[in-house]
């Protein structure tokens, strides 16, 4: 009946100042406490409001549970609540004075690998949970492999349930060492291991009183301070053209702007640019940042480019600096995660959506399928089924300006789509498999170089 307001705390008041945004995902098996960790993060950052908590308490009581089941905060679908499992990604939002967070809370079961891939695709950080009593298990390795495959820049290993191993440092150290060795081999660039107890609240938001041997950040402190990937602003500049803006009004009779979100890098007025795949060149005459002219713009800003010359540019084209243009190709070699229930077989005719361009394509070859358990490769499986990860070679009807996924998650990724009913079949990542250290031997140019 009333807003139930109190005097704002310092934390809440500070939330109102300008902050950056971090997108992150959680991964963990069914019983290792992922829901408790998420619940603790939301609860301790005061992101669970009274009526939500009341709804959870009410639902928990009506199911005969004594304590509020924090998993009910994130499991929003009837089927999930009935079965007590997470089926699909849920997105959660919370904030601290330093940052705003978008959390993709993903299911842990291998059957839902595709949903983990969905959550990880936009994440800049993944929290992988393990149970301190069990250490690194198969599922942990799968999660690390997916984070490496999707090239999530930062990985946090949260060693949970430290309260059940008497908060002993050697338990944590052994797990952290084993995981770090494994994930580094996969090419995960940054790994931070944190000993926690989500249930007791140790090292989640507040530092633990039980583990004075640990000198690192809590989970929340790390989330607040990890750098968001500004380096994208300094790599190869790419602007996929989404839409051509032509007002044709008395005020703007000749305005012709190429609208799009900068996928990577930085563009400046005066710069010489090339439009792919046509290869035509011009110079940037102006940049409009949502109605305001600017001299420079960078990823992920949505802008409108004005060019000096009236050349043919349309949706699906890629604007790049003339000095830094990717090669175009009709033969795409990539890793895909198959996300549909119908299999993907050699010879399949599909649509390939890359940035703003959708082209016809044929699956020419499926050289291997990855076994996530031990990362071994099963040669020539013939087809991929739901949740499989494998290598494919695809021939496209038109040339694409495709970067390696290792260079750009945005211009190195694509979807395969069923032309008959529009189903998303597979998520593709162009270029080599993992960000592994083992580079191709010098002089070997048998590889693909787009």
């Amino acid at each position: 009946m009333n807003g139930s307001t109190e005097q704002p705390t310092d934390r809440q008041t500070e939330q109102l100042s300008a902050t950056t945004l971090l997108r992150f995902a959680t991964a963990g098996s069914v019983d290792d406490g992922k829901s408790t960790l998420v619940g603790r993060l939301l609860h301790d950052s005061k992101s669970v409001l009274a009526d939500q908590l009341e709804a959870v308490e009410h639902a928990s009581r009506s199911r005969g549970q004594e304590a509020p089941d924090l998993a009910l905060l994130t499991d929003g679908l009837r089927a999930e609540r009935e079965q007590g499992i997470t089926i699909d990604v849920a997105y959660r939002y919370f904030a601290t004075p330093r940052r705003r967070f978008i959390l993709a809370d993903t299911p842990g079961h291998v059957q839902y690998t595709r949903n983990m891939v969905t959550g990880a695709s936009t994440a800049e950080l993944t929290v992988i949970l393990v149970d301190a009593r069990n250490g690194v298990v198969e599922q942990t390795r799968r999660h690390a492999a997916i984070a490496a495959l999707l090239r999530v820049p930062h990985v946090v290993l949260a060693v949970n349930k430290m309260d059940l191993v008497d908060y002993r440092e050697p338990v944590f150290a052994a797990i952290a060492e084993e995981f770090t060795a494994y994930a580094s081999e996969l090419g995960v660039p940054e790994i931070t291991a944190i000993p926690i107890s989500a249930l007791a609240g140790d090292n989640v938001v507040d530092a633990s009183a039980h583990m004075d041997w640990y000198g690192g950040p809590t989970v929340l402190e790390h989330l607040e301070t990890v750098p968001v990937s500004h380096d994208l602003a300094t790599c190869h500049a790419r602007l996929p053209v989404q839409y051509v803006i032509r007002p044709q009004t008395a005020d703007h009779p000749d305005y012709r702007g190429y609208a799009g979100q900068i996928a990577a890098g930085t563009f400046r007025v005066g710069e010489s640019v090339t439009v792919l795949p046509s290869g035509r060149t011009s110079r940037i005459a102006g940049i409009d940042l949502l109605g305001e002219p600017v001299d420079v713009a960078w990823t992920p800003q949505s802008v409108t480019l004005l060019l000096e010359d009236d050349i043919d540019v349309s949706r699906g084209d890629l604007v790049v600096p003339s000095a830094d243009a990717p090669a175009t190709t009709q033969d795409v070699e990539a890793t895909v995660c198959h996300v549909a229930d119908t299999p993907l077989a050699v010879g399949a005719r599909v649509l390939l959506k890359h940035t703003t361009r959708t082209v016809k394509a044929i699956v020419k070859e499926i050289p291997s399928r990855l076994t996530l358990d031990d990362l071994s490769q099963h040669p020539a499986p013939g087809q991929l089924v739901a949740n499989d990860i494998g290598r494919v070679r695809v021939r496209t009807a038109e040339p694409l300006a495709l970067d390696s996924y290792a260079d750009s998650r945005r211009t190195g990724s694509f979807l395969l789509i069923d032309p008959a009913d529009g189903t998303t079949l597979a998520a593709g990542m162009a270029g080599e498999f993992f960000a592994a250290a083992e580079a191709a031997p010098a002089g070997d140019d048998e590889g693909w170089d787009f």
């Binding site: 950056t20 679908l77 500004h230 305005y255 959506k353």
Partner: protein, 324 residues
Amino acid sequence: MTTGIGTVGGSPDRSPDRSTDRSTDSPYALTHLDALESEAVHIFREVAGEFERPVVLFSGGKDSIVMLHLALKAFAPAAVPFSLLHVDTGHNFPEVIEYRDRVVAQHGLRLHVASVQDYIDRGVLRERPDGTRNPLQTLPLTEAIQRHRFDAVFGGGRRDEEKARAKERVFSLRDEFSQWDPRRQRPELWQLYNGRHAPGEHVRVFPLSNWTELDVWQYIQRERIELPEIYFAHQREVFARDGMWLTAGDWGGPKDGESVEKRRIRYRTVGDMSCTGAVDSDATTLDAVIAEIAASRLTERGATRADDKLSEAAMEDRKREGYF
């Protein structure tokens, strides 16, 4: 600055200290509002590029006002290439309808109205015993989509509003009956939105998916967007029902035993008058509203929506039937 809707005062604050990240001092970090704005604009432009007949659901509420503001910026200096659709429950706040018509005229937009009252008058829909018309919006909405052959329908839904909405995709495919099947959603990867659909199907699009209530208010403040007056504290005749303050009106309130009193209130959401509650408030400015929301221990819908309390999965059930 001529791109915004109902813009008040000067241009939005874009001083350099707002666009840098103090935690890293990188000149390339965007503030969370800039990042959310850029993402929403990208979604609008994707739809403009891929669909034949998109429409924006517009109620005159703050989320749809922000959507329209973003659409105006996305296509500036050209006009918004979409028309608007208002599902009119017939129980409207007069200030909101006045605002709606003014904005439509100001920007030369085309407005379609799907009227619940019309369906009741024709005997197609029957008034519910509780007088709530929110669930009755689904049929006029879905029939308007079919009649006008809209293939993309923008909604202002946010994932922070409700647990079923937290599971919603940005591009949400609906069948010819407008149904949402949460178990058969397309995985949505990177910023690669798949809008393919068969004839008769359409896609619901939610550009504000990743915004929170506070983001919406901070953006309204930064962009100096004008809102209907009911969002700010004002004296109004209200009566108590089911723990909420409702505005008296010829829609069916107050009933016997309910008494009208004059209170200083404001609204956090705009919807059907019969089920949208007001909160006691002294917030007459954007600053005061934002401070109030930041300190509130209740969610927007928990504080003001009666219809979401009908069952544990009320929103999921309505969404399955075609509600937005």
